[in-house]
Amino acid sequence: MEKIREKYDKHVVASSYLVLAPQIIGLIVFSIYPVFWVIRYSVYHYDGITASFAGLENFIRIFTRDSGYWMSILNTFIIAYGKLIIEIPLSLMAAMLLSKKVLKCKKLFSVGFYMPNVLGIAVSAMIFTFLFSSFNGIINNFLIFAGIIKEPHNWFSDKWSAMTVICTHSIWVGFSTNMLFFMAGFQNIPDDLYEAAEIDGASKIKQFFKITIPMIAPTLRIILMLAMVNGMKMTNNVLLLTNGGPAGKTNVVMLYIYKAFFETGAKAQYGYASAMGVVTSVIVAIVTLAYLRISKKSANVY
């Protein structure tokens, strides 16, 4: 009996590896191997054809002479974390509405809330540039009609209104994913907790803060971590909405690196751009680890 089981396991294991092999090979060749190349480029001056060893010069330049890079890091933090202030409560509320037996046409709303995500970042960003356009843009026309402003506001002319547009777009596209995570988290809360609280005379609000929030704390922890990491990787929507904003003021770090890599033509400074990539990944790693450390408590709530 044991012998037969061993054979069966080996067969399963072997075919599992075979099935996974294309994925793993792809991951190694296209994701992991290039990382080593980037680290290698970062210690050279490289313009695409000739390379000269630079040692730590690129890194020194980042830390002493490149204010644009640190501005882009600051912008990234502001956008990625600032939008969470609105996005998390919004997704939580949407998840609550769709989980409880409150709404009649729940399925319709679920689909409707998820549509922005299906539309995709690129298409919705193009639509947003038309919505917020100064000439005949719907948002401006609506605000004028409602009497809030007198003449069309140029949303992309200064840093903070451009950031507002970027955050709005990001929230609109992204809140449905978090909403789904929360809904999954709600499934894990046993109903008898609520019943017990009801019997003890707790109000709905108290139930929410004392039962719901603590019970979804592990889910919330993961969602916040994902939102932070994805926020730091944001490029496409900023590129399409503002292209780095009026004179580079809404540059986010990945967009800044992308421009340093691909938009300098024959004067390419691949070595410098790779060094920026290395520094950025270290920063993201530090932030994530710090966050996981601080929020360790919430994983062991119950």
Partner: protein, 449 residues
């Protein structure tokens, strides 16, 4: 049963793969295949027809088959990767003087004189090659065939509606930058939802080079950005005039709104709809305004304006990428490669492309001898801007740390820098980069002196 099905399906897939192989056969033994690469999507259709005709007539006689490939996106990256893997085609278009310099230094491309019949070819087409643009280290690698001319594109209807007309009641295009500012203001005030001028600042690199630097060279000469190779200094002081002009337009609010998020395509689409009075355009706009965004309005082309009180000193043109011969050509039939090279530069081919309104030839003789009956007046106007002698100047490739002149233009537009501050910052950034380039020997100033 399942196994049989699996085998049948596999066999079917294998058979369909075999259809992918191409027929080579005995033909290739006599014919030499010369590969030509280009990044120009606009001329693809016409060029493919011309190449096919050549292959069926002269090509068959001389035993040459041209394989013409167009890469409309990521052409630069394709070229770079092929260059590093020694897989460049025999002849290819290489964009930009810096890329040509890179390739020449690394011997990916060969001097034309090294090819059979190359020196005679250079005598006819080489003219006065300039070190740093067509010549590198004293050897000529490319002879440009096409140019892009610039002009002021304006909407005649809006000019007439604003009352800017000559004695016959025809729209009067502005001749100086001061008149541009005045006319833009008049047009903006003349109606609802119309604006005098448009600057698509989302594409600020394009604006800086094609709408500010090149037009200003018509007044101030090629030395608009003055570079002193003895002191190793850049002098951007003449740019103050352009920055003041931009600030004037901003003050009058006579530009199409939302300029920071306006890209060139949207700007031209709005012009086609008749909402913009004028913009600084180039010969490529003729195709855009006739096929891509067919203009609803009556539009025309005038020479670019000059500064008030000054004379026009030259006609600025942009040099399109030219054909280079790669080192792979040395391994094949050199004479046949040279035949194809001569064909690509022939006056007939350039005249054909000019008459089809696809590209403007560099040689003024071709322009003057072309048949103009089928030509749009606007295209003819752009063609008339080709100068007898192409003015161009080689500039060093610098590793800049900081804002380029395009970035600074954007900062002036949003009001972050005054005209004077912008000039100071540009001088500082470029001076540092030039000095550093000379120090680490990546720039050889003797080339440019």
């Amino acid at each position: 049963m399942k196994k049989v099905l699996a085998i049948l399906v596999t066999a079917a897939i294998c058979i369909s793969f075999s259809g992918c192989s191409s027929k080579k056969g005995a033909e290739s033994n006599r014919m030499a295949t010369v590969r030509v690469w280009s990044g120009s999507g606009a001329t693809k259709e016409a060029m493919t027809k011309i190449i096919d005709e050549y292959n069926n007539t002269q090509g068959k006689e001389n035993g040459i088959k041209i394989e013409y490939s167009v890469f409309t996106s990521d052409y630069n990256t394709t070229l770079d990767t092929s260059a590093q893997n020694e897989q460049l085609p025999e002849i290819m278009k290489v964009p930009g003087a810096e890329t040509k310099e890179k390739y020449a230094k690394n011997k990916y491309v060969v001097p034309i004189a090294d090819m059979p019949g190359g020196s005679e070819f250079l005598e006819k087409y080489g003219e006065k090659a300039i070190e740093g643009i067509e010549m590198f280290d004293g050897k000529t690698y490319v002879v440009n065939t096409e140019v892009t001319t610039i002009g002021l594109v304006y909407n005649k209807d809006l000019f007439k509606a604003a009352g800017i007309t000559d004695e016959n009641g025809e729209a009067l295009a502005p001749k100086t930058w001061e008149e541009v500012r005045e006319d833009a203001k008049k047009i903006t005030e003349s109606g609802k939802s119309v604006y005098g001028i448009s600057f698509p600042m989302k594409d600020y690199g394009l604006v800086a080079q094609w709408m500010i630097e090149m037009p200003m060279q018509a007044t101030f000469g090629m030395d608009y950005t003055k570079i002193d190779y003895n002191d190793l200094t850049y002098d951007y002081s003449k740019w103050e005039y352009a920055f003041d002009f931009i600030n004037g337009i901003k003050q009058d609010k006579s530009y199409f709104p939302g300029a920071e998020s306006l890209d060139n395509d949207t700007s031209r689409a709005q012009f086609a709809k008749g909402r913009i009075g004028m913009f600084i355009g180039a010969s490529w706009d003729v195709g855009v305004l006739t096929t891509q965004f067919a203009a609803d309005c009556d539009w025309a082309v005038a020479p670019v304006p000059v500064a008030a009180g000054k004379e026009r000193v030259l006609q600025p043109v942009g040099l399109s990428s030219g054909y280079c011969i790669s080192n792979n050509a040395l391994k094949t039939d050199k004479e046949k490669v040279m035949e194809v090279y001569k064909f690509l530069h022939s006056d007939d081919l350039q005249a054909l492309l000019y008459e089809k309104q696809l590209s403007i030839p560099k040689r003024v003789q071709v322009v003057q001898n072309a048949k103009i009956e089928q030509m749009l007046p606007q295209w003819e106007m752009f063609g008339s801007f080709v100068p007898n002698e192409i003015n161009r100047r080689a500039v060093p490739t610098l590793k800049l740390e900081g804002d380029t002149y395009a970035d600074v233009l954007m900062k002036v537009w949003v009001g972050d820098l005054s005209s004077k501050e912008a000039v100071e910052q540009l001088n500082k950034t470029y001076n540092n980069a030039l000095k550093k380039g000379v120090e680490d020997k990546s720039v050889d100033v003797n080339v440019y002196k």
